[in-house]
Symmetry: C4
Subunit: 133 residues, 4 copies
Amino acid sequence: MSEPGSNGVIGAHTWAIAEGYIPSDSSGEGPALESHEAACLLNASGDHADVEIMVYFSDRDPAGPYRIVVPSLRTVHMRFNDLDDPEPIPRDTSYAAVIESDQPIVVQHTRLDSRQPALALLSTVAHPSFHPA
Amino acid sequence: MSEPGSNGVIGAHTWAIAEGYIPSDSSGEGPALESHEAACLLNASGDHADVEIMVYFSDRDPAGPYRIVVPSLRTVHMRFNDLDDPEPIPRDTSYAAVIESDQPIVVQHTRLDSRQPALALLSTVAHPSFHPA
Amino acid sequence: MSEPGSNGVIGAHTWAIAEGYIPSDSSGEGPALESHEAACLLNASGDHADVEIMVYFSDRDPAGPYRIVVPSLRTVHMRFNDLDDPEPIPRDTSYAAVIESDQPIVVQHTRLDSRQPALALLSTVAHPSFHPA
Amino acid sequence: MSEPGSNGVIGAHTWAIAEGYIPSDSSGEGPALESHEAACLLNASGDHADVEIMVYFSDRDPAGPYRIVVPSLRTVHMRFNDLDDPEPIPRDTSYAAVIESDQPIVVQHTRLDSRQPALALLSTVAHPSFHPA
């Protein structure tokens, strides 16, 4: 059961993250300890995955799609901080995200908050949808 | 697959959060760092969602319903701290919540605890129920 | 859709928590800030729930069953620290738990770790099993 | 419903953790407070479980399989830090993991980050796959 790529379908085509917020402040040094929010994408399938991300807000139309490729048998730990096409994600602003992929992937959501001089972490597997995208 | 509102059903009509607790103390300054608990609601559907929240306690009857609207293609990061109709949520008290929506939504639960001078975070996608409300 | 007890089945009869660990040290004062681990149980059904908990270890037979009642339309935030019948949960020891209920409930797992002078939190909805207990 | 091993199937055969990262730094003393990442495995079945773990990276082929046995009615809190056969997991590097078991198990993912002088925690139940491995 251990051949890479030989396993069955792992994951889903559509994932949602309802809690998004990038603090503008950081007390850590360097990118590792900068306040950030990430969607960690795992593609354990045999084909590369084309992924599109829509970002939702409380008071304006959604932004996106943001496009990212996750190669076969690879993981991409994508920081929302780094998205800038078609537009950057505003800081200190509540948002949410829907992630759609043409291959099954697994999505886990993580935030590192270093606004205060001791970092805090949160993480949860995102909500999968098994309906066709 | 990237047209807002064109995607399939994302989420569920009923969600549960079993762990609720709003600390009465905070060491941070301003509302961003005040100890708080939130239910982040994402409505990725094409229709606005009417949402009702019932809050459960250990030793009294439930409170609610609290009513909130999540417009189409919007997210609402609702703080339990701010609920006051029909009654505020008591602090330093264990509670739980059931969230029902007439449209499919996604719910993620987050707490920021700043009782001590370094904040702590927790978050998890709430428990969805796929039975009709 | 807001009548307490009128909603459909919320939750599952069997839940698992694979990550259990109660630190023996605390730096906070009082029970609220004592290092602890909790299973938060929500019974949104119309009948009281009889719950049994088995605790699993790495190197000995399971402990339990621990018995607890969750009344109808109530939540119980049960601390593993407080269990003592048939035996207390050892500190600084890895464990896991399976929670079975004769009514559908929702279980969320939370730890507050105050070993260092700034508390840390983790929480996740437990893993539900939809097979009959 | 409380006989150990008498309960129905608990868990799944395949689990994914999309967010993996072992910080190389720690400020705590001793193994309990060393920065670490763990997969907590619960085998509530009546048979011992042979488990294989594949680890995925952003820019190289997967590592593994790592093999581990979880005895019947036992939990193993496996630290990724301790894996070294066929190769250790690099520090300060994004990774992901797929865990396959010949018996149903439950997997929960936890990180303790003590890079700064107040530890941070994250935890989530991993993503189960109900397709055959």
